[in-house]
Symmetry: D2
Subunit: 117 residues, 4 copies
Amino acid sequence: MADSLAELQDALDTFVEERNWAQFHTPKNLAMGVAIEAAEIMEHFLWCSGDESYSLPDDKRAEVANEIGDVLMYLLGLGRALDVDIIAAAREKLVINREKYPIEKAKGRATKYVDLD
Amino acid sequence: MADSLAELQDALDTFVEERNWAQFHTPKNLAMGVAIEAAEIMEHFLWCSGDESYSLPDDKRAEVANEIGDVLMYLLGLGRALDVDIIAAAREKLVINREKYPIEKAKGRATKYVDLD
Amino acid sequence: MADSLAELQDALDTFVEERNWAQFHTPKNLAMGVAIEAAEIMEHFLWCSGDESYSLPDDKRAEVANEIGDVLMYLLGLGRALDVDIIAAAREKLVINREKYPIEKAKGRATKYVDLD
Amino acid sequence: MADSLAELQDALDTFVEERNWAQFHTPKNLAMGVAIEAAEIMEHFLWCSGDESYSLPDDKRAEVANEIGDVLMYLLGLGRALDVDIIAAAREKLVINREKYPIEKAKGRATKYVDLD
């Protein structure tokens, strides 16, 4: 993770340290933070159709970008607290998913994908 | 985002294309995916205290890492679908947070932080 | 709440007492429980369209019913822990919503509804 | 469900019909609504400890009651859309839970309870 994500991580660490907030940032609370911000992303898509969800008005899109930023920050914080490299974790999960959903079986089938967990 | 996260993004794009799954990956559905996987992270921390949440058993920690990977993959997919650079989004939100929670006022105060949105 | 919901509440109280689980059922944890089970409902609808979501296969529908039951149980537990009557809470919120979304303005407009919070 | 919850259901039906909103209230969207409002409950408990979560300030408690009301309304709407009696669903899930967590094994053990799904 020796790149822009690592820089973001450092900026976040400083932000938290300066405010003495590490005491509140337990893995349990950070996991809640990820879920809360994820729901705030979702709120912008509640009443639109799948097709409509591609074309948010500019102000909504900016708000969604903010919430995406929040999720990533909490996720990085959680990774830090648990000593989990979030990119490595995603890479490893992708390997699992490739095996779980072989191309020939999964191609174009949402029903197959539904069982993803 | 010219680094390991971009590589992950490319690997994800290939994974989705090979399975012809882009049709299901609307921003609306990807936002749901982020929230669902975020809840799966949280499930591992439901009954423990904040302190206990630092010391997960190894098998639980590996499962949490998997769920973290899932959240990151859906988040990247959502960023791709909306043309939002997720790292830039987090950097910009951090700038907002620095102004919203000035050090002298926020230091050590969870009550202040509670109002974060 | 002097009816079937109250009976369910009593059955839940007994279930929790018999297992000595009240110690884990803080409002914080019960709120997490509601959110986790809500996400499990959602998981069944991730890849289907709005129209398709009406016609779940029987086994999926039974699983969704189970998750709905879980959400209601955690919600009742949370209401109990905070001394909030969940039906009265919904009635009062409905009064607020009636004022917030007057019929003449809100009729048939999801865009209006989007701002519901 | 022939009681106060049924009355609430009727009031909700009228509210939705008067605004012609049934078109937006697919099971998929209502499931998202439950999850979004569940996260809004959770937000009030993010930075407090389990013990602190019992003693919310009055204004926060009123806000939590509102969010609880929102969750119940979406849950009822979802039950209606899928023809699921939410109280019966909870009762049936409770029967399952009694078998899954026998008193003698589960008593006082969160670790056991952690495996609840």
